[in-house]
Amino acid sequence: MQIIEEKASNLQKIINVLSGGGLVIFPCETVYGAAVDATNPLAVKKLSVYKQRPLGKPYSIMLPNQKEAEKYVELNDTAKKLYRQFLPGPVTVVSKVRAGLTKNGLAAGVASELGTVGVRIPNYKFLLQLLFKYGKPLTATSANASYKKRPYKIDDILENVSGKQKQLIDLIIDAGELPHNEPSTVIDTTLDDPTVLRQGEVVFSDQDTILSRSEDETKNCGKELWQKYDKYLGQRAVVFALVGPMGVGKTQFTKGLAKAMGVVEEVVSPTFNLEISYSSPGLGASLDHFDAWRLQDGAELENLGLSGKIHDKSVLVVEWADRVADTIRKYNEEAVLVWVKLGYGKGENERTISWGVTS
């Protein structure tokens, strides 16, 4: 282990250590970090031993600019916007690893098992110089062993690691005590990938439309649609697949439907819980309220126990159903599928609500 100063004349030395699979402690605008060559499997393994964390927990990578980043990840519109707004800076943007990236690609254990990786472009001149010169991504992780104090100075690190860990450090770039800034903010953009959103376009076979002028009218529409299809209860499950943008009133619609079913509990947004179950004592039926907004794909809907909830005494409402349309369609035989499309109308509180049944 060697401690050197942060100056341009030391760049080559740092690069030599990194090329040789070494572990380098470096300063940046957040905290001291531990870097290895993110394309070198042995180096990444060494880093995991140093960090005392098991393989499988992904590492973010650092690159000098967006152009370099795009060699490793696919940036969608959301990601591009975040790059424009925040990078270089203390924000880590998670994107999909570029398809077909193999040769000189990222070492195993860097990307997540979903094939995503966080990219950071540090707002720290010396580090940017190093990244430019090195030409390959470096891991971006704080230099403390997992779950130890945030390292703002070299002593914070050395006082908190074991002798064994110390031996794994090849080089330390000492820039004194750093300003006590927060670590970077991590944000995932992959839910906005058009490939996910495009999955399963919804086709309405027979279709009706009404105009709602208030939250109450949207609730009322939920009630009316329930009354239209309640005759199937006892024969088949009824699935209301809701499609429409944020804030359009999908949960309001469900509130009205639930009330008409005789559910007494307050129906709230299922976004966070993914699924909330209610019951209608009067009808002896269940109402399962799903939200596919945070789901990666239809398989996850199945993981939440979808098939077990489809029976002749069940009613399901799925918000953001277009994200999981293919999975819902699979139940066409066992269930009556009612597709409901909610959209913003012209007037301030207006909504158009259309529905149709897949035959």
Partner: protein
């Protein structure tokens, strides 16, 4: 160490985070959280996917670390029984049963929301440097409790530890969820609450007019973000150019309205109840301007001492167990096989 109280190994897998901790009374001896995002990326999770399998893969390592860092013999296991994602809760409960059986110690179930509620009472490890005294905030009961997270926005009356009454709750989105959704509407990814906060810092909160939710109807004791969300959608649509400053201003306006509404409902509600302090827990506590507005609005406001107690974590589960035991409350002789997951579980029926 006060030997009256048992040392607790606590486990929480209610959502995306896999967490284990060792506590003693209110003292946090270790607090391990394996999050898909970094520990500070709060409000909600990044990866609902694969939750169950990921919990299974990580839980042994997380528990092992917590026990090792805790450095004490375990007298009891506490586990989150609910509320939360059913398939995720199962993993922690199954593991907790196994560990309790193996160690031959009792297993106690804890409510995740109650744990957030009591999280401001947690105290750091005594040995940690510079700490001479180490006592929980002195709370006079009844007190108020506020839980603001990605999944919950609820105001409670804490009559005493273990006895709570819901004073106000959300009728649609949780606060953290609303902030995340607003960020998403601005095209900022997910979970965007933290990004929204950064943007809001540079924005002018009075630049645009947004409606104040439930204005004049605060006595209904309901939080609501659906109308605000809709107005925000319209407002974004009206902007010809979503340039940097416009996004900052939009973020600032949404955040301010969301917080104002929260404060107004709390004010209205507490007019009618006696209380001394207000305890605030949950992921949205990470938001600095929320902490500021709460401090400005109420006299004795208590937040958890560490960011690691704000998002989902197991230390708060252990601390809740410790506090209840201290009050002679717990069902400590529960047989492990009797603990089963309860995805929906109000703290009113503990």
């Amino acid at each position: 160490m006060n030997k009256q109280l048992p040392t607790v190994l606590a486990i929480d897998t209610s959502c995306d985070e896999t967490a284990a901790a060792v506590t003693h009374g209110t003292e946090v001896l270790s607090n391990i959280i394996w999050s898909q995002a970094a520990a500070h990326a709060d409000f909600g999770g990044v990866m609902p996917s694969l939750a169950q399998r990921l919990h299974r893969e990580r839980i042994d390592w997380v528990i092992e670390r917590a026990v090792k860092l805790g450095g004490v013999k375990i007298d009891m296991v506490a586990v989150t029984k609910g509320p939360g994602l059913a398939i995720a809760l199962e993993v922690g409960i199954a593991k907790a049963k196994g560990v309790a059986n193996k160690l031959g110690v009792p297993l106690v179930p804890i409510n995740h929301v109650e744990a957030h509620l009591l999280s401001p009472l947690a105290t750091p490890k005594l040995k940690e440097k510079g700490l001479k005294s180490n006592s929980s905030p002195q709370i006079q009961y009844p007190a108020l409790g506020l839980v603001v997270s990605g999944g919950h926005t609820e105001l409670f009356l804490i009559e005493k530890i273990g006895k709570y009454q819901v004073l106000a709750k959300t009728q649609d989105d949780a606060l953290g969820e609303a902030l995340d959704k607003a960020a998403r509407m601005l095209g900022l990814g997910y979970p965007g609450g933290a990004i929204l906060e950064k943007m809001a810092e540079k924005g002018d909160p009075s630049k645009f007019k947004l409606p104040l939710p439930m204005a004049g109807r605060e006595d209904l004791r309901l939080f609501s973000y659906s109308g605000l969300k809709t107005a925000f959608y319209r407002l974004i649509e009206e902007q010809k150019d979503l340039d940097k400053q416009t996004i900052y201003d939009l973020a600032a306006c949404f955040q301010r309205r969301a917080f104002e509404h929260l404060i107004r409902v709390i004010r209205k509600t507490i007019n009618e109840v006696p209380f001394d302090s207000i305890l605030v827990g949950g992921g949205v506590v990470a938001n600095k301007s929320l902490r500021k507005i709460l401090r400005r609005s109420f006299k004795k406001v208590w937040f958890p001492y560490s960011p690691k107690l704000i998002g989902d974590n197991a230390a708060m589960i252990g601390v809740a167990a410790g506090l209840k035991l201290g009050g002679g409350l717990l069902i400590a002789d529960l047989k492990p096989e009797e603990v089963d997951r309860k995805p929906r579980w109000s703290v009113e029926d503990l």
